[in-house]
Structure formats: structure tokens, C-alpha cells
């Protein structure tokens, strides 16, 4: 995707002017190989969303969908953002808000846009249960996919079955197994050489009388075989 200094078609110019007027910030623009324009606008507070949404509704834009995501992997995955994707003619415009306080990282409630875009209903209910993001003033905040008994944001807690059966585990598990089996201590460079215990040969523990009988029978058999 190439960056555009300014939008280069009528619909994207309309969006650019409207959002600049409504929010004081104009989107940045990119273009794909087919010439379609894409606008990108990120706010720093959840409540900044509403004036932009009103402006988009007024100009006849359509809500395509809403994407909630974690800003970073692993440690900071609780920092969620929400991207609202709108279409106007050939143009797509994404307005993104953080669902957390950017200074403290504390989770914040986000405003519902269902009063402006009817089809936001399912999208908001979905990210509410999948990402545990709280929504203000949603007209119908019931569960959509997950049962009421399942915690919101459950997908973050699950380990894919494929990872589990492939043995994709932390090295702690294997170190624990090795410690129990061999006395291996993680991090210790000079490990004691493992010496297997010596076993007494079974023949040495046989009673003497039995050993003698066994010797005779072997000798007798050998003699018979020799006669034949």
C-alpha cells in the first residue's frame, strides 16, 4: 500500500473534510494497486469516537464491521483497541480508539455506536464477550455467541489443542522431568555424571543344589545328542 499525501477521489475527499471539521483531525491516506483509497484515523480517548461517527452517518457512510484487538502480544495483551471500519463508495475508512487509558493502561468503557449504526449491534456484542471490553449505553447488551456461564475474553485463556498435542510446552516442564529422572539441575554447568547402579548377575544368586542339577541336565542332553 502506498501513502497518499492527499485523498485522490471524490468520496475520500468528502470524508477527509468531514472528519477534519467534526474532530479537528484528518485521516492519513493510503492507496492499493487497484487505486482504492483507505483512510486511517486514531483517537487517544474512547469518547472522541462519537463526533466522528455522527459525521460519518451524516455523509451516508456504511459501517462495514468493527475489529477489537490487543495492541501487543503476551504481557500487554489486556491493552485493547477497537477499529471501526466504514465504507463510502470505493473508500474504506478506519477509525480506531483505545479501550484503555493511554497513561495508566487501565481499561475504559467505550461508547456504543448502535444508536447511529443499526448493524453495530452484533459487532459490539461480539467484542464485548470475546475481548471483555465494556460498552456504555448499548441498547441490547446480551451475549451473542458465548453462553452466559463462560467468562468474557475466554479465547485469551485457551491453549490451542494443536499446540498442546505437539508438545509445544515451556522448557520448565522438560527441566522438571529431567530433574526427577537424572538429578539434572537447571543452570548448573558441571553436572554429576550419572552412574547406573550395578546389578548382581542372577546366576550368582542361584542355590548351589539347583545349579548342580542344572549342570547335569545340560551335560546329559549333550551326551544323548552325541549318541544319536
Amino acid at each position: 500500500m502506498s501513502m497518499l499525501p492527499k485523498p485522490d477521489n471524490k468520496d475520500s475527499q468528502t470524508l477527509d473534510e468531514l472528519l477534519d471539521k467534526a474532530c479537528g483531525v484528518a485521516p492519513t491516506w493510503t492507496k492499493d494497486k487497484a487505486g482504492n483509497n483507505f483512510g486511517w484515523l486514531r483517537f487517544h480517548k474512547p469518547d472522541d469516537l462519537v463526533p466522528a461517527v455522527k459525521a460519518l452517518k451524516d455523509c451516508g457512510a456504511r459501517l462495514c464491521t468493527v475489529t477489537a484487538y490487543s495492541d501487543k502480544r503476551e504481557d500487554e495483551r489486556h491493552r485493547r483497541s477497537i477499529a471501526y471500519h466504514f465504507a463510502l463508495g470505493s473508500v474504506l475508512c478506519t477509525v480506531t480508539i483505545p479501550a484503555y487509558d493511554e497513561a495508566s493502561g487501565e481499561a475504559l468503557e467505550v461508547p456504543s455506536i448502535t444508536p447511529y449504526f443499526r448493524n453495530a449491534d452484533w459487532n459490539e456484542r461480539e467484542f464485548q464477550e470475546m475481548y471483555a471490553i465494556k460498552i456504555k449505553n448499548h441498547p441490547n447488551p446480551r451475549r451473542l455467541f458465548l453462553d452466559e456461564r463462560i467468562d468474557a475474553g475466554i479465547m485469551d485463556e485457551l491453549i490451542p489443542f494443536s499446540s498442546m498435542v505437539h508438545g509445544a510446552s515451556s522448557k520448565d516442564l522438560w527441566e522438571q522431568v529431567m530433574m526427577e529422572k537424572t538429578g539434572y539441575v537447571p543452570g548448573k554447568k558441571e553436572q554429576e555424571v550419572l552412574v547406573e547402579p550395578a546389578f548382581t548377575p542372577v546366576s550368582e544368586t542361584q542355590p548351589k543344589a539347583e545349579a548342580a542339577t542344572a549342570d547335569n541336565s545340560v551335560a546329559g542332553k549333550t551326551a544323548g545328542e552325541a549318541q544319536s
Binding site: M1, A34, F38, T65, S70, L92, N119, D121, W122, M155
Partner: protein, 367 residues
């Protein structure tokens, strides 16, 4: 309580699904009924939710081509096609022209088979069994094309990042043209039957109506929106691949009912055959894939016109080979909610017919 012929009639709830003979996949409808009329419908989804978007963030960009092929069988070309476009947008990859033509050919072959399946099922739901059997036989012509060209009847596995994984030679093209001739010899007759047969018209005209304003308000897309007079088609609105170079009409109907939606689909079958013929005529020589660069950190959107309407993909990467986020929104997602409007005051006997008329895809909805 309401009254019909002075006899008090009580409102009661009629549960349909999640497992029901009229539903091919599980969905739960709680239908409020007074007498034989539906007053309201409440939909509960989630019976086959697979957490595929969460899974996509655990797999690398190449593995996700295979994953997206498996979101849904009927749209199994549209998903990887649009996903690949999103990756190509992030990395600024120029797909070779021959590959773009072949992508569109696979897409239109799938559209023909998908639409014939839906209108065939409509005949089944209204009890027109001989027409249903005939439609499935006609659809088999395209199923043979899929099996012969791609080696599979549903998942074509045609797309890869930067191009396509299949090619057609002279013999295959001859076969496709032969099959298109066979298909067209049946299409005129089928369209006439759906347009004029009294049994079909009696059961479908005026049933499950949704007006243009409601269609826009609910954000409807695809044949459902076009059946209500909304002129929207991603192939025309937001051009991608080689669609700007192809001649085709965007089919619309004004009725907004079950019949209008079926007629839009049949009209689109005719247009898709027209598109495939143009592709065969204009197919250029050249490579099938682009040279792939490293996929940089960034975000991109892409959309296409799947058989059920606009399919949207959003991809976010961090410079590694595993996406930070992959989101897709399928056309059925909005169409479900509009059933509330379509089923208002309809007869209980028409519920399954109206559900079928949005060509619902549950495996798409419950990724």
C-alpha cells in the same frame, strides 16, 4: 392477547433449532407467534463457534491461507482470495495479470454453483421436488468443472499470497467452454420457470419483504440488498483484480421479497457465465505468482464480492510471520439481523423459506 374472529388468541413462543430438519447448520430462532402469524423473532448464535480468528493469530501468514479456505465451503474461494489481497496490500505486492484473471475465474465458478444451490434449495423448501432435483443436476455441471479444473468439488485451493496455485491449459479451457454451453442451454428455461411458474410465485412473491430503506439501515449487502433495489456490488463499487476490465451488469430487483432475491441470484448466474467467457477469451500469458517480499508491520483492509455479498478482511501485522490480528466479516453477519424485519407478520410456514432466502451461512457467521 389478541383476537381473531372474536376468539382470543394467545401469543406463544415457537422454538426452531438449533437442530432442525429445515436447517442445514445449527441456529436457534425463538419465534413469537400469534395464531399462524409471526410477531417477532430472536436469534441465538454460537452453536458451532470455532474461534478461528483467535486461531489465525497463532498461525503464520501462509498457514492462514489454508485456514481461511476452511471458514466455509460455499465461500471457500472468496475467503482466501480476500485474505491474500489484504496481505498483498500490506506488502505492496503486484499480482501478475494472468493470476488475477485466474482468481476471478475461480470466484465466478464458485458463484454460479453457490447461487444454483440456493435457488435449488428454495424449490425444495416450497415442495417443488422435481425442480429441486433438476436444479441440483444442472449445478452438477459446474461441480464437474470444479472437480476437473481444481481437483476438488468445494475447496478449490486456488489462491496463494501473490498469485494462484492452479493453471488451465488448452484442454481444460475446451472442457470449461463445453460445460458453460451445457449450463447455458438450461439457464433460459430455469429463469423462465422461476419468473412465471404459478406455484413458485404463489409461495414467494410478497413473502419476507424488506424495503430499500431498511436494507440500507441494516447495512445489508449482496443479493439480499440488491433484491431490495440497493445498487451495491463490490466488484463495481471498489474494483479489485481484473473486474474493471470485464463487462457485466449489476442485477437488482425492486420487490424486496423471497422471489426478488432468487431472481437476483439467477440473473447473477447468467452474468457470471458471461464473465467466465470473457476471462477465457482474454486470459493473458505470464507468471502465476509474484516474488514475495518480507511482510512488513502494518495494517490493511480488503474486500470482495462473495456469492452472499461483500466480504471484508482486516489484517494487522508486526513484522513477524504471524499476524497480530486477522478479522473477517462475512455478508451473512448483517443479513441475519434483518430477518426480524423480513419475518414480521409472516406465516409460520414461511419461516424456513425466508431464512433460506438470505442464503445464510452459519459456518461463515460463527468463524
Amino acid at each position: 392477547m389478541s383476537e381473531v374472529h372474536n376468539i382470543p388468541v394467545k401469543e406463544f413462543s415457537l422454538p426452531i433449532g438449533p437442530l432442525h430438519v429445515a436447517l442445514e447448520e445449527p441456529m436457534y430462532f425463538k419465534v413469537s407467534v400469534v395464531g399462524e402469524k409471526v410477531r417477532d423473532v430472536d436469534i441465538t448464535a454460537g452453536h458451532v463457534h470455532r474461534g478461528m480468528e483467535a486461531l489465525a493469530a497463532k498461525r503464520n501468514l501462509f498457514q492462514n491461507v489454508v485456514l481461511t479456505e476452511r471458514v466455509c465451503s460455499l465461500c471457500s474461494n472468496s475467503h482466501p482470495f480476500t485474505y491474500c489481497m489484504a496481505v498483498e496490500n500490506i506488502a505492496d505486492i503486484e499480482v501478475p495479470l494472468r493470476a488475477q484473471y485466474l482468481r476471478v475465474m475461480a470466484e465466478e465458478i464458485k458463484r454460479v454453483a453457490s447461487h444454483l444451490f440456493n435457488v435449488g434449495i428454495m424449490a425444495h423448501v416450497i415442495g417443488f421436488k422435481s425442480l429441486f432435483m433438476h436444479m441440483m443436476q444442472v449445478r452438477e455441471i459446474m461441480q464437474d468443472v470444479k472437480e476437473t479444473v481444481f481437483g476438488n468439488r468445494m475447496d478449490l485451493a486456488a489462491n496463494c499470497i501473490g498469485g494462484v496455485k492452479y493453471d488451465v491449459d488448452g484442454d481444460l479451457i475446451k472442457f470449461v467452454v463445453h460445460q458453460l454451453d451445457r449450463l447455458e442451454s438450461h439457464l433460459d428455461e430455469i429463469v423462465k420457470i422461476y419468473q412465471s411458474n404459478s406455484m413458485i410465485r404463489e409461495r414467494t412473491v410478497g413473502v419476507g419483504r424488506i424495503g430499500k430503506e431498511d436494507a440500507i439501515e441494516y447495512g445489508l449487502v449482496g443479493p439480499v440488498a440488491r433484491g431490495s433495489g440497493v445498487v451495491t456490488d463490490t466488484r463495481r463499487n471498489a474494483p479489485y483484480a481484473v473486474y474493471p476490465e470485464l463487462r457485466f451488469d449489476v442485477i437488482t430487483e425492486e420487490g424486496g421479497d423471497v422471489h426478488a432475491r432468487a431472481m437476483v441470484r439467477l440473473g447473477e448466474v447468467v452474468e457470471s457465465v458471461r464473465i467466465i467467457r470473457q476471462i477465457i477469451h482474454a486470459l493473458p500469458d505470464g507468471p502465476l505468482t509474484a516474488k514475495l517480499p518480507e511482510i512488513p508491520a502494518g495494517e490493511a483492509m480488503a474486500r470482495s464480492e462473495a456469492p452472499r455479498g461483500e466480504l471484508f478482511y482486516y489484517l494487522r501485522t508486526d513484522g513477524s510471520d504471524v499476524p497480530m490480528r486477522l478479522k473477517w466479516r462475512v455478508p451473512s453477519y448483517m443479513n441475519w439481523d434483518a430477518l426480524k424485519v423480513m419475518m414480521k407478520d409472516c406465516a409460520v410456514a414461511d419461516v424456513s423459506l425466508i431464512v433460506n432466502s438470505i442464503d445464510p451461512c452459519i459456518s461463515c457467521t460463527e468463524r
